[in-house]
């Protein structure tokens, strides 16, 4: 026997897309009328088939070892949720097989199975039972669950009055204390606050490292995936694109997402920008950078007329257009009067700019700013993703623009003079 806890072979799932009916469900009336129509038009067969097959998953194969923490990555519609639904037996595959050893608990959506009218206490028992816990088991874990969810004051309040954060906390707490051999978590933590997310991720890490349990985790937060998962699966249009170490999978995922930016050339002025790209040190164009990567912005400048006052300025902009930093240099440092174009690289050292989305402002002007030759704001959008910084758990929150080395010291004397 192998040590894999989940073995998936040739897994496919087909859905039928019906283009005719917009209704969500079939009505008996339609079925009958269609049958009658068919009987009448057996020879003519007027209509082309209005149905289309859609393979949400196609020939997916992988195996997961016990204690692995597996991230499942992919764009919307890549088949992540379908895969999890099949693994948790909600829906049946069209073909292929899965071998699972042990109990599976899935946390697919916030508070599924909670009844809004029931109190927190009642819902713990209800939800526990739905997930397959016995009453005895729930009772023995009850305090732990309440403690973890931090809802003790609201235990006897109907959950319809809970905040969405409390809702998720309680839901997660129940699922996490189920002690399943396999825990499936689909993108649910986005609702809780940063502190609770951290706690959940910590719990998941705990569950797998200490308890030797397997965690399957779907998220669009790459930082979280990098932090939590040791291996990852990249899905693309229902097929596995890559399986392997999380860091390399995340890299692949980002590269496949790149897109070129449109750019208007303004070639009438003295100096103008012909093209700008962002790339790595080797000139390989990319828009997604890991936190520790160096970021190079490569600017191609066209020159109509030489002058010694021409200056280039580069600003890094946050999403809200606030400037993170500005740098500038006189162009006369780089070229002589007979050149018609030059290309400059500016490198931002990796390990400084906090993971988030940024864009650039590139300006060609004179030193005082009274003359502007060319001006491009909010171009070359880049994304810096978290590859496991200390702040990874707070991904998506505004904790600042830079990450600095943390130097903490406890001082011997408690007083500050």
């Amino acid at each position: 026997m192998s040590d894999s806890i989940i073995e998936v072979k040739g897994l496919s799932k087909k859905y039928i897309l019906s283009h005719e009916g917009q209704e969500k469900y079939t009505a008996l009336r339609d079925v009958i009328t269609n049958k009658v129509k068919k009987l009448v038009n057996t020879q003519q067969n007027l209509k082309a088939p209005s149905q289309e097959e859609f393979w949400a998953l196609k020939d997916v194969e992988f195996s997961i070892k016990q204690g692995d923490r597996v991230g499942i990555i992919g764009r919307n519609g890549a088949g992540k949720s379908t895969l999890l639904k099949i693994l948790s037996r909600i829906t049946e595959p069209t073909s292929g097989s899965i071998k699972i050893k042990g109990r599976v608990a899935s946390l697919l959506e916030v508070g599924t199975g909670f009844h809004p009218e029931l109190t927190g206490r009642e819902n713990i028992f209800l939800n526990g039972a739905i997930l397959g816990m016995s009453r005895h088991e729930i009772r023995s874990k009850f305090d732990e669950i309440v403690d973890f969810a931090e809802v003790e004051r609201f235990l006897d309040t109907p959950v319809k009055r809970y905040s969405s954060g409390m809702y998720v906390r309680l839901a997660f707490a129940i699922a996490a204390h189920l002690e399943p051999e396999i825990l499936i978590v689909d993108e649910v933590l986005a609702v809780g606050d940063a502190q609770f997310q951290k706690k959940c991720l910590g719990k998941m890490e705990d569950v797998s490292k200490v308890g030797g349990r397997t965690v399957l985790f779907v998220s669009h937060n790459m930082g979280t995936i990098l932090q939590l998962c040791n291996t990852s699966i990249l899905l693309n249009q229902g097929q596995i694109e890559q399986i392997g170490k999380t860091s390399s999978i995340v890299e692949t995922y980002y590269q496949s997402n790149s897109s070129k930016t449109l750019f208007k050339v303004n070639d009438k002025s003295e100096v103008f920008i012909k093209n700008i790209i962002t790339c790595d040190e080797n000139g390989f164009q990319k828009e997604y950078f890991a936190f520790k990567d160096n970021i190079v912005i490569r600017i191609n400048i066209g020159i109509n007329k030489f002058s010694s006052i021409q200056q280039i300025a580069i600003c890094l902009l946050k999403r809200d257009k606030k400037r993170v930093f500005t740098v500038g240099k006189l162009l006369s440092n780089f070229y002589k009067s007979d050149q018609s174009e030059i290309t400059l690289d500016f490198m931002i050292d990796g390990g400084l700019i906090a993971p988030s989305e940024y864009s650039f402002l590139i300006a060609l002007n004179n030193k005082s700013g009274s003359i502007t030759f060319d001006w491009h704001e909010d171009i070359c959008p880049i994304k810096i993703y978290d590859d496991g910084t200390d702040r990874a758990f707070e991904e998506g929150y505004d904790y600042g623009c830079i990450i600095i080395k943390e130097n903490w010291n406890k001082i011997k004397y408690e007083k500050i003079y």
């Binding site: 079939t26 693994l87 909600i90 071998k99 050893k101």
Partner: protein, 275 residues
Amino acid sequence: MEDSKELIIEAGKAEKNYWSDIYRFRELFFILSWRDLKVRYKQTVIGALWSIIRPLLTMVVFTVVFSKVANLPSEGTAPYAILVYAAMLPWQFFSNALTESSGSLIGNANLISKVYFPRMIIPASAVITSLVDFAISFVILIALMIGYHYTPDIKILLLPFFIILCFFSAFGIGLYLTALNVKYRDFRYIIPFIVQFGLYISPVGFSSNVVPEKWRLLYCLNPMVGVIDGFRWCILGETDLYVPGFILSTSITFIFLALGIWYFRKMEKSFADNI
């Protein structure tokens, strides 16, 4: 992890451990019915009294209409009110159970599309919920008997058997209808009709003895005829059970049950995709 069994999920194959899963989730039957009961009477004024008022009022109306207006005979010496109520009990149970269970899958769509557990638990727990109403309504029967100074026959001890029979007939038909309801939502219009129609073709307001002899066997094709006759036989004990009809009714009940389970199991796999 010693107790963890290997589970194999394959296309088109009924899992072997379906029934053992039902056993594993056995507490869910009661927790879901407990939830339904708890929720049903939230924000109501008289709460559980509804389970008493409805059959009681229907009984009064039926007694007046069938006994006083239509002048139909009772069975032996039994007061007409008790004759009606003895049938009203299983009928209310049946109609509630059928209505609740046939809408149960749609009502729990969020669970079905998000969590796995044997789906059969949902309609079953809906029937169990109705059983609780049945128990509450039963109190009225006892009150009626005391009021009329009517002593039931010793055969009343056999009543649990007929309660189970009623359970199965509601559950079997309910399974079939709830599975159909997932696919064809027309059934939510059909069900109230079945229930209303059934009330008149079942011997609720009258004794099935008033049905002419030559139609009697045909009449027993209705599974509820067997259940209601059985109830009256136990509670009133005034006339003998019409055995061929009873056997026919009971067989129909079990045929429906088998069909219901078979169809439900067949459709179960695609519930999450269709709901």
